[in-house]
Each structure stands twice: as C-alpha cells, then as structure tokens.
C-alpha cells in the first residue's frame, strides 16, 4: 500500500512544503530531550491541551526553565530550538478507519531531506534545511496538519507527532529514543529493553513495588554522558510513569534485554548483541533507509559505552530479579 493510503483521502496531495494556515497565534516552548521545541500556530484549545498533557515540560516564552523543569538539562547542546508548526486541515482530508482490534502504526515516507508521516488525524512532515550558526549546519523543523482543534483527541495526535520528532532530533545529537521501561533505583537508571509484549510494564510494576521510580514503561531516551551514558525521562508513557514531572538525567546503571523465563538470571551481552538490541528498540528511525549509517554509528557508540553494563535479563513472574541486579 502506498504512503498515506490507509489514512488520507488524497495522499497524492500531501504538502510538499511545511506551510499552510496555522490554527492560531499561540506559541509554546517545551523542554524535552533535544529541545527546546518551539510550537507555533496553536489555537487556544490546542495550547490548553498541550499544557495539560506536558505540564512538566513547559518553558516560559523567554526560555527560562519553568518551575519544576530541570534547570540545566543535559540537552543543552541542542542549541537553537526545534520549531514545529500546527496547521489546519479538515476531517474530510482523512479516511474513516475502523480501529477495532487494530494495532495502530503510523505511515512513513522517507527522503534525504524530509520524512513524511500520516496517521489518525495526523499528517506531518519533518524537514532538514541548511542553517544554524555557521550556515554549515542543518536545522530540523516539523509541521503537523490536523483537523483537531483541541478536544479529547488532540493531545494524542500531538504526542504521536512529538514522539517521532524527538526520536529524529536525538538521533542528530548522538542519542536515541528507545522502547524500554526506565527505572531509577539507588541513583542509577536501568533500561529494560524489549518490544511490545516483552515484559516492560511487568518489570516496571515489580520495580515500583520495590520502591524504585518508574520514568516510563514505554519510551525513554539514552544519550552519551560524561559517565558513559545517561537516561533521560520522556513524557511518553504507557501504563506507568509520571508524565507530568520533569527530571534531570540519570547515569545508566544497566541496559537489560528482557527475556521472560521461569527463573531470574543475568548474562552479559556482547557489543554486537547490545547493538542489535538497541537497533531493534529504536522506533521510527530504525526503518528509515536514508539514516541507516547515522543510526548505526550512534547506536554503536552507545552500545560500546554501555557494554560493560549490558545484560540479558531472564526474569520470572516471581519478581526476584532485583536481588540479582543489586548484587551487580
């Protein structure tokens, strides 16, 4: 099936440029890994929706950290804001989709300087243009067309777009968004990696029951850090994780590939296995044929840095795996 055909009535008319009619004149700045992200063209209802969904990530317009947001995020190297625009389209631009019993996935179309995506109530593009301080740099920007003017569905539409934008932004910065459960225990972050059904939420629940802090049981960010690697909280959660609160980066305690078993055991991961695990768990960007070299380069560096602390964790439903991890 061709790009957008599942969602868009006329995918062939997908905009070639990140331009159109904005929803309004409201503007917000979000402090997320790789940011700040400057969101333009919001209506009042959309602004309210973003504020309610990501309260821990809001920055005042001047750029100073908001109350509760980290004062010095590890993403400061990001520099200039990543701009994204909210643009109007109509519900009639989208096909009706019967979502019963259906696993939702976005449609992607890639090219060297852009990525297009389509989904439920969502048509968007990411563009890379020459720019930046020395004009030798490349600036990433995003545009989101949606018929949702606030309301119950808008936060989900915006978050789906934001997940992709942040994933690509972190790839530029040498980091990765990873399908994982992120847990902080004794000042170190543990990333439990696995695709849907691997047991991320299960181990997050066990961890929470033992007093650990769950960052997210769905997506977390891993970036290079003076201490090797650091885990950054993302406001993209599944069943567990507090999306409203911001958090400073946490040094990586261990990278753990999940395998369900009848016993709890830990086995070291080779660098190749660690790289393979990271590749499999890097959503959106790991199917982009134009950014393969960059992704492998970034993930190889992260895998090499994390290798001494990378393991396969075989875990049982007894929840005793933390006693093994604590010994390490």
């Amino acid at each position: 099936m061709s790009f957008g055909a599942r969602f868009l009535r006329q995918p062939e008319r997908f905009s070639e440029r990140p331009a159109g009619e904005p929803w309004g004149e409201r503007e917000l700045a979000l402090e997320l890994p790789g940011g700040p992200y400057r969101v333009l063209g919001l209506s009042a209802a959309q602004e309210a929706g973003v504020r309610a969904t990501f309260p821990g990530s809001l920055l005042p317009a001047a750029g100073a950290p908001a109350a509760g947001a980290p004062a010095a995020p590890a993403t400061a190297a990001a520099g200039a804001p990543v701009t994204c625009r909210l643009l109007r389209c109509t519900a009639g631009d989208f096909l009706p989709v019967d979502v019963r019993g259906w696993e939702y996935g976005l449609d992607f179309d890639w090219s060297p300087a852009a990525v297009r995506l389509a989904g439920l109530g969502l048509a968007a593009r990411l563009d890379w243009r020459l720019g930046g301080a020395e004009l030798g740099g490349v600036e990433l920007s995003g545009a989101l067309w949606t018929p949702e003017d606030g309301g119950a569905r808008f936060p989900g539409v915006f978050e789906n777009f934001l997940r992709v934008l942040v994933s690509y932004r972190l790839l530029e910065l040498g980091g990765a968004v990873l399908h994982s459960a992120g847990v902080v225990r004794h000042g170190a972050a543990f990333l439990f990696l696995g695709r849907s059904g691997a047991g991320k939420t299960t181990v997050a629940r066990f961890s929470q029951a033992q007093g650990a802090e769950v960052l997210s049981d769905d997506l977390n960010a891993l970036l290079p850090h003076a201490a090797g690697c650091a885990v950054l909280k993302l406001p993209f959660t599944g069943d567990l994780g507090e999306r409203r609160a911001a958090r400073l980066p946490v040094p990586l305690g261990a990278l753990l590939r999940l395998e369900q078993d009848s016993v709890d055991a830990l086995a070291p991961l080779s660098r190749a296995e660690a790289l393979a695990c990271l590749l499999a768990c890097a959503p959106f960007v790991n199917v982009d044929p134009y950014r393969r070299d960059r992704l492998e380069h970034v993930l190889f560096a992260l895998a090499a840095a994390a290798a001494p602390r990378a393991f396969t964790l075989r875990f049982s439903l007894g929840g005793g795996f933390w006693s093994i991890l604590d010994e390490k």
Binding site: S270, R271, A272, E273, L279, E296
Partner: protein, 111 residues
C-alpha cells in the same frame, strides 16, 4: 526458489545491513525492522557472500579455517545458504549462465 548448488553465487540482499563486531555479525533487515546476531561461522559465511565468489569458493576458504571434513562442510554450507536465501538475507547474484551458443556458420571461430 532456485536450488542452491556449489556453483551458485549469492549476495546479501540490498535491504540487508551487515556489520561485524568482535567476530559476531549484526544483520539488519531494514524492510522488516528485524535485527539478528550471528555466531562466528554464520558471520564468516555472510562475509563470503559477496556476489562474486561461488559457494565452492566459500567452502575452499572455510576448509582452510576450520578442521572439518569437506563432505560434511559442503552439506552444512549448502543447507545454511538455502536457509539464508529463504529468510531473505541472501539472493542469487545472477542467473546461472547457459553455455554460449555459436552462431550458425561460424563454426571454427572464423566469423
């Protein structure tokens, strides 16, 4: 699917990414979003699948590296190559060529 023989020439498919780290191979099937880690022998075989050397050449190379009987190695390599083709990691590099036909009236190479 064509039968895999010792004369077959195979190559990695265009959508397959392959790199070797510490003698282990990491294979990414881009289209399927699938990632595999191969052991040392499988990594060596995928390295040999360069689209130029026949499987017979792979076997010659492997005989110099591993202490194994040629007959057993040939059977194992052919089976593994067929499996890699079936899994979409390898494909035939080119159709096996039929012997060139001589044009009528040019017997003896005088034409």
């Amino acid at each position: 699917m064509s039968q895999i023989r010792v004369g077959s020439v195979l190559r990695r498919r265009a959508d397959v990414r392959f790199r070797v780290i510490d003698e282990e191979g990491v294979v990414v099937r881009q289209g399927a979003g699938e990632v595999l880690v191969l052991n040392e022998v499988a990594t060596r075989i995928l390295t040999l699948a360069d689209g130029a050397a026949s499987i017979a050449r792979w076997i010659d190379a492997l005989l110099g590296e591993f202490d194994v009987d040629r007959g057993q190695l040939t059977a194992d390599v052919l089976a593994f190559a067929a499996e890699l083709v079936e899994q979409g990691l390898l494909e035939p590099a080119a159709a096996e060529r039929a012997p060139a036909l001589r044009r009528a009236g040019t017997a003896g190479g005088g034409g």
